[in-house]
């Protein structure tokens, strides 16, 4: 029988299935309050920003405060389009997975701004080391949708030759590094990559993304130590979407007030930002990128957001969190907020928005039809089976040559 009071502390979320969603414990400071220091600031002097919450869009959807990046309406519309495309694509791919067209899928619903705004604030040649919920970067960098789908359905046109799970994209031409699938492993790699940028005299930087739960990994510590020691031009993003599959963020956070705060211990500039605020993500990334390029070192950015859907198609969140939590999330929905900002500026309207959604949905449907002409995982054609033995080494040695022969291909 379970003890009525646990003998040691095990953190628990405020609400579980059957409860009313409760985010009353989350303190949301008004938009526009945070200071925007010079990019040369010492990392240790950013504690207020690590404990605060950089927000630009206020409750009336107006851009306020020092962090307002003052983007042109065209740029805002472009960002909105990438976010809507990300959402439409995710929706359609999830449906196709349910129809058995894919082995697996992962949506980024609710977190579209985290990926899209960051990608737009970076240079297109900055190397990104994403985790599996930043597909928005690919849309922002203009990757061909058919190619993305061919990867997800592992067909003959899959640029990864059917070796990776769906959503684990690689796109070298777009400076989009591999997505490992193991958590946090790429965080310290991004630091090494960034150091090489510096070594080679490139102006490029690197950026990586992990989730709140992944900060518990040793590689998180390793990445921050390396970034601090070698003053690497890298942006280390922690996407705090509150849930690591079924485990709430408090299991990784422990007694830490924020995840950004952890960066302060390493002497790194650290910001906690509203991850559902396109302008805040854009501005913070721009600041961190400028800081990195100028040689002032790395920035840790915690994007405070909410995973509005399941972890993956293999997950059912109704087993561990209350229904309606996403709708109750106090920072709203990133797409709605940017849309309303544009409408408030007189640069957008509901009709145009609906038309864009429809257009993008049709684009996604047409793209899938085209992707299927190159095969599906279920019916083929796949990459030729002998490619299984390629790329293990630059050249296969006698073992692989023999094993390929043993398989008869």
């Amino acid at each position: 029988m379970a003890h009525s009071t646990p003998r040691f502390h095990v953190p628990a979320p405020h609400a579980r299935p059957g409860d009313t969603p409760d985010f009353s414990h989350i303190e949301i400071p008004p938009a526009g309050q945070s200071r925007r220091p010079d990019v040369a600031i010492a990392g240790s002097e950013t504690l207020d920003l690590a404990l605060g919450l950089v927000r630009v869009l206020d409750h009336n959807h107006q851009a306020v405060g020092e962090w307002d990046p003052k983007l042109e309406p065209d740029v805002l519309r472009e960002g909105l389009r990438h976010m809507v495309l990300t959402r439409v694509y995710d929706e359609r791919m999830q449906k196709l997975q349910r129809q058995g067209k894919m082995s697996f899928y992962m949506k980024s619903m609710g977190e579209e701004a985290v990926a899209v705004a960051a990608a737009m604030a970076l240079e297109k040649t900055d190397m990104v080391f994403p985790s599996y919920r930043q597909q928005g970067i690919l849309f922002a960098r203009g990757r061909d949708i058919v190619e993305m789908m061919c990867h997800c359905i592992s067909n003959s046109r899959d640029n990864l030759k059917g070796r990776q799970l769906p959503v684990h994209y690689t796109w070298a031409e777009g400076d989009f590094f591999s997505i490992s699938g193991n958590l946090t492993t790429q965080f310290p790699q991004a630091v090494g990559y960034a150091m090489a940028c510096r070594y080679k005299g490139e102006s490029r930087i690197a950026a990586s993304w992990i989730g709140d739960g992944s900060t518990a990994e040793g590689d998180f510590h390793g990445a921050l130590v390396l970034a601090s020691t070698y003053r690497a031009p890298v942006i280390l993003n922690v996407v705090n979407n509150q849930w690591a599959i079924s485990t709430f963020q408090g299991i990784a956070a422990g007694a830490s007030e924020t995840f950004a705060q952890k960066g302060i211990g390493y002497g790194l500039a650290s910001l906690r930002i509203d991850g559902n605020d396109f302008l805040a993500v854009y501005a913070a990334t721009k600041w961190a990128a400028e800081r990195a390029r100028a040689g002032h070192g790395a920035t840790v950015i915690e994007s405070f957001t909410y995973r509005a859907d399941a972890h993956s198609t293999s997950d059912d969140p109704s087993g561990y969190r209350p229904k309606g939590e996403a709708a109750a999330w106090p920072l709203g929905d990133p797409v709605e907020r940017l849309k309303n900002h544009l409408i408030g500026l007189g640069q957008w309207d509901e009709e145009r928005h609906a038309a864009m959604e429809k257009e993008l949905d049709q684009l996604v449907i047409a793209s899938y039809k085209e992707a299927e002409t190159f095969g599906t995982l279920h019916d083929g054609p796949l990459s030729p089976v002998q490619t299984m033995f390629e790329d293990v080494y630059a050249e296969p040695d006698w073992r692989l040559r023999r094993q390929r022969r043993d398989l008869g291909v």
């Binding site: 990864l160 030759k161 492993t185 790699q189 090494g192 080679k200």
Partner: protein, 332 residues
């Protein structure tokens, strides 16, 4: 052998500005075994530098750098300490080429001293090479003398694939025949103790027949190559000795030709017996040479215990253990 490895690093850093060396105590001090001595002074702080004590971070940093076109040579101070970096090696380093279908690669070299015979106790004596031979995508090399060490390290740095480069630390300062407590012999008299100053390479994947013989084949690598030679001298048994030099990919042609000729075989490793690299060799040899074999393949190995401190010489497979096995193989 230390000077040979240092010379390999020096040649490569001189030739290629993208070659970098780092690890714990590697920079200013030049490494606890002095393999990188003088390199920071000669090539600068950003080419040979100290790393924090975090083997996972060291390997990960190397992966990131290599993916961006550099040629990092990372040192793990003792191979016993490599395990915090094991995930980065198994899940990342070895598979980057594969999972990106060749669009990203990480041709990293990880140098690491291994093996016992130095009174290192359980945390400074391990021979963990077998773990690394079980990972598709990396090459595993272990030289047994200065000449090979230099040629193979340069080949490893020039390899397009990641290489784990084990340096038998008992051999750093001289050959070792397994006679516990004997005065150290210098490399000077050894036929492969002389090392040219200039750049040269030896092919990865090619074994070396260090002694031709007819009675049996002994396959060894690292320190045990010398112990096998001592056993042959002491016993007078005319064994052929193969120094494997590369474990992955191992030189099956040389091995099979020798065993088909002699009909008897001993495989040797300093590591514990169960699931050691000798097991792979024995399995492959019986597939290749079954009808030539006149006796069961015998293993000479460490025991299935951690490497003990006080009883080091009871653990270490010295010449007598070889001679016992050789007699058994002959009499079978």
């Amino acid at each position: 052998m230390i000077q040979a490895l240092n010379s390999a690093m020096d040649n490569m850093m001189e030739r290629d500005a993208n070659v970098l060396a780092f690890g714990e105590d590697v920079g200013y001090f030049g490494g606890v075994f002095r393999v990188t001595a003088g390199l920071q002074e000669k090539y600068g702080l950003d080419r040979c530098f100290d790393a924090p004590i975090n083997e996972a971070a060291i390997v990960a940093m190397a992966i990131g750098m290599a993916a961006n076109g550099l040629k990092p040579v990372a040192e793990i101070q003792f191979s016993d300490y490599i395990f915090p970096g094991f995930d980065q090696i198994v899940s990342e380093l070895s598979r980057l080429r594969y999972r990106t279908a060749g669009t990203f690669t990480a041709p990293v070299v990880i140098r690491t001293p291994s093996g016992g015979g130095i009174r290192g106790g359980q945390t400074h004596s391990m021979s963990p090479e077998a773990f690394f031979t079980h990972i598709p995508g990396i090459q595993v090399v272990m030289p047994s003398n200065p000449y090979d060490a230099k040629g193979l390290l340069i080949a490893a740095i020039e390899s397009p694939d990641p290489v784990i480069f084990f340096e038998p630390k008992r051999l750093y300062n001289g050959p070792f025949d397994g006679g516990a407590g004997k005065a150290l012999e210098a490399w000077g008299k050894h036929p492969k103790g002389e090392v040219p100053e200039d750049h040269y390479t030896l092919p990865i994947g090619k074994a070396d027949i260090v002694r031709e013989g007819a009675a049996m084949t002994i396959i060894a690598y690292g320190t045990l190559v010398h112990v096998a030679q001592a056993a042959v001298e002491q016993s007078g048994i005319d064994a052929e000795i193969i120094d494997l030099r590369t474990l992955v990919p191992y030189d099956i042609e040389t091995i099979a030709a020798s065993v088909n000729k002699t009909g008897r075989c001993i495989v040797a490793q300093e590591a514990p017996r169960t699931s050691g690299f000798g097991a792979e060799l024995a399995a492959q040899i019986q597939e290749e040479c079954f009808y030539a074999l006149e006796a069961p393949i015998k293993r000479v190995t460490g025991w299935d215990t951690p490497y003990p401190h006080a009883h080091e010489w009871s653990y270490f497979p010295g010449p007598q253990r070889f001679i016992n096995a050789m007699r058994e193989v002959l009499e079978a």
